[in-house]
Amino acid sequence: MKIAIASGKGGTGKTTVATSLAYVAASDGHSVAYLDCDVEEPNGHLFLKPQIIREEPIRKWIPVVDPDRCTHCGLCSQACRYGAIACVGEETLIFTELCHSCGGCLLVCPEDAIREVPKPIGRLRTGKSGQVEFVEGVLDVGEAMSPPAIQAVKDTAPDVELILYDCPPGTSCPVIESVRGCDLLLLVTEPTPFGLHDLKLAVEMARALKLRFGVVINRADMGDREVWDYCSHQRIAILAEIPDELAVAEAYSRGEMAAESVPRLAEQVRRLLEMILSGAPV
């Protein structure tokens, strides 16, 4: 079963929920993998403290023009919907930082003058944290396209009972790439106007992608009741409510696994896990 943990707003507790689910699942004897898909700022390793066993480069494919064959006909430039190619005078320029590796330019080139070459964009790190299988992608600084790195992370998922995708914040391309293909999407939010505003965007995304999803309300005893009203009105299942606890914040700030340091949190996460494994009512 593949579970994506996402949110609209950043800082709602995605990583706390995802790493705690991994920790509790492993403690209860389930085979589980934690995949950090937030490749621009992966932080699950701070809490899981994995032993990294393998590290390899992540590459994306970029087009290269053979100047001897190119006739500067401009078909590749017209085909590129990302505006990454310009044919000017006797030169065909490719701005690879804008390239989405779709391969369209290769298909339309009548002179067979374009080939693809791999370009390193980051690193893939795999290892183990206790019994938890750990995978993370780390995008190189200055690299703008994270989806190929997220794909590499997801392609590395081991064959286990439970796969957890810790997703980036927001609702743009990197999040779509991260949640795609999951069996259940957990939207972590908090009961604040910001939390609700971005939850609504995340719900729209989940519905557009036709994903099964439910909400986890973190710091549930602060803020207001608007998130509950919204979920009730929209008939969205609230799968867990995690109270605001100083002990969790303290454990987090020390880089400790919150579910290990705060047994009460572990119990709440265990209930969530059991609900998920028995078929969450979403």
Partner: protein, 120 residues
């Protein structure tokens, strides 16, 4: 000489559009005759990315030898340079004033982009 000028309206009295890639119009002016044509840049104005590159390609294809505009970023500059277009950034006022500033030498050609690139 054929000169491209970024403009907010399709006439010579228009204010110069300070943006290059997402300019509203390109006016292609023949400085010998004073004749001009206006070219809508709506397609690049609404592009998700790469507006500067594609706008530069448009200007090259229009046959311009020089470009008068407000700001040009690095990718657009590279493309314009490859297409043999001399770039005069810092143009202000109306299109007519910008052309006058070119004649009088107040506008000087740039050897590199005058602003940094940006995402979307």
């Amino acid at each position: 000489m054929k000169v491209a000028v970024t403009a907010q309206d399709p006439n010579l009295e228009s204010t110069v559009d300070p943006r290059f890639g997402r300019a509203r119009y390109f006016l292609l002016v023949d400085t010998d005759t004073g004749n001009f044509t206006a070219h809508d840049n709506a397609q690049n104005l609404n592009a998700l990315q790469g507006a500067g590159i594609q706008a530069a390609q448009t200007v090259v294809q229009l046959g311009a030898e020089a470009l008068l505009t407000g700001n040009v970023g690095p990718k657009a500059f590279t493309t314009l340079q490859a297409g043999g277009v001399t770039v005069y950034p810092g143009a202000t006022g109306t299109v007519q004033q910008a052309l006058e500033d070119l004649r009088s030498g107040r506008l000087q050609p740039a050897g590199k982009a005058n602003v940094e690139g940006h995402w979307v």
